[in-house]
Assembly symmetry: none
Homo-oligomer: 155 residues x 2
DNA sequence: ATCTCATTCATACTTTAGGATGATTTTTAA
DNA sequence: TTAAAAATCATCCTAAAGTATGAATGAGAT
């Protein structure tokens, strides 16, 4: 049986919880046997689980990307010396396949045509495009094309 | 005396902590007096403080942002040298309005947005675009954009 | 080894785009 | 001034694009 990555994560967190509870019991035992004050035990517990909460929150929140556009004047005329902006492509995290799809999209192909061109299903193309839109921070294919051309992601 | 917003936040959090510890003591009292199981008390505490941790993390961390600095190259000679292909525009019989629509289309606007931009109805925009497609001999807006840029109808 | 990421595909659904057709109102040029 | 072109808008319909969610798998990285 296969587990989705989300389910696996859940299981990991559950196990982590279990381990922490074990730790809790151990601390409890130590303190009670040693007859230390209950307050110290409570404080330790509180700190422990507060930290756990912070950790979980930090792990689970996704970073929000803000794009700052700096205009840099360049005196170039031709598309002959086109050099893809590798740095930006890396920064945006565009995969090989996504770039291919973007390229074909910019050439005016429909999703159906792209899928036939790459020998994959229409759904796959849609998935790639959805991810592209989110990575490029756009809502439509025409916006994606505009953006990708202006920032030299594609020719 | 003035308090900076950071100091005020700190105070709020301290107070929140105090209140929570109070709550903790109360729960502890309830459980101990009522002679409930210690495990339930511990679980409640753990959950409480895990939640607290999550809340603190979400509140306190400035929204995790990965800032992408995009160096947009502004090709001066390109924009300066651009001369619309008037001959072709005449040959194709493109009207002023159609060119405007084409321009906005290439900038990534949706039909709705174009209509708002030009203060006409959505239907009007569709009509213009239909004529454009037939005149440019294309089937989709992405093709129209490709074609219009390649043949210097628009920038 | 195991975890992450890229790639693939599916289903179900909503929204937008595009096509066909007809009609009214301005402009514009003969 | 009147015919032609341009611009406007509508309705009905179909096709394509886009969203959301879940899932399977193979390749690399740790």
């Amino acid at each position: 049986m296969m587990l989705s990555s989300k389910n696996r994560q859940l299981i990991y967190y559950s196990v982590a919880f279990a381990v922490l509870f074990g730790l809790l019991k151990w601390i409890e035992y130590q303190f009670l046997v040693a007859n230390y004050s209950f307050e110290i035990y409570a404080s330790a517990t509180a700190l422990l689980f507060t930290s756990l909460g912070i950790w979980i929150a930090l792990k689970l929140t996704k970073p929000k990307t803000t794009t700052i556009i700096l205009e840099k004047n360049k005196f170039l005329s031709n598309s002959n010396n086109f050099k893809p902006n590798e740095k930006l492509i890396l920064q945006l995290g565009l995969s090989k396949r996504e770039l291919e799809v973007l390229q074909l999209m910019a050439q005016g192909l429909s999703n159906q045509e792209i899928s036939e061109n790459l020998f994959v299903s229409l759904n796959t193309v849609k998935t790639h495009i959805s991810r592209l839109f989110s990575k490029l921070n756009v809502k439509r294919r025409t916006q994606a094309i505009e953006m990708a051309k202006k920032s030299a992601i594609i020719l």
